[in-house]
Symmetry: C2
Subunit: 172 residues, 2 copies
Amino acid sequence: MTNEKYMKEALKQAKKAYQIGEVPIGCVIVYQDKIIGRGYNKRNTKKTTLAHAELIAIEKASKYMGDWRLEDCIMYVTLEPCQMCSGAIVQARIKKVVVGTMNPKAGCAGSILNLLQMQEFNHQVELVTGVMEEECTEVLQGFFRDLRIRNKKEKADKMSQKGNCEGLTTEP
Amino acid sequence: MTNEKYMKEALKQAKKAYQIGEVPIGCVIVYQDKIIGRGYNKRNTKKTTLAHAELIAIEKASKYMGDWRLEDCIMYVTLEPCQMCSGAIVQARIKKVVVGTMNPKAGCAGSILNLLQMQEFNHQVELVTGVMEEECTEVLQGFFRDLRIRNKKEKADKMSQKGNCEGLTTEP
């Protein structure tokens, strides 16, 4: 129940990314049953790789806690974190991560690697996956479907413009 | 020669961290023979795990480039990057990383893992290690030596204060 409650909040964040044309990934960080950090992907908007949803949420949660250690915090994130975000989760000593859908091509919480639970590091993170998986997958699929349609349309428009121009130059 | 030139700049950054009582790690990012991002560790000062030297330098370099992609950039860093920073380097598609000294207990550019060169990711980073290794090791060793002395002194002061107080309470 709690997992779904906060994953819905992470999904709300993902939809904010969708609205500004960013890959829809959202994240919230919870401490003592209160959201203390929210974030959504803004990589293209902010023009920095550090604008992943998880890092934005970690920055805000750290500000709230007044500490770089987020030891009693739980992160809810719609997509399995990449290597950078998984690394940040371990570095911030987040207690637990709840993931919506996995990212088989790039995820580092079990897909390519499991950076969250490596015994070689000085902190291991509890991990729950597959919470509201269908909704978290759908928001991503919807985004990429729209993107394909848009790209196809743009290409068709360009081709048609090109055709018109060529028509103009070949006509007397 | 160039490696030494820029590692000296990274060391200057590390020394800035030293001066504010932070673990002395420094970093610069170079594009077309120009430093476009500098950073030094401020984790305790800024109270966020995102204030590692490398992430600060990436943020600044991205701002300079106006792009999250740092494809033709070279990073010089005094200590082998952790899992978060190695992940950020791959995500930012930095071309090459030059490392001063390795971090056998936590480094992720060859020690625990080599996240920079995993074939499973969509980007691999050229890697040079051991540039000005002695100087980069010495600045860290000096810091921890000072810290031990300071901690020992504080402990001794506390013990002596405690002794005085106990003396006061047992006297009539």
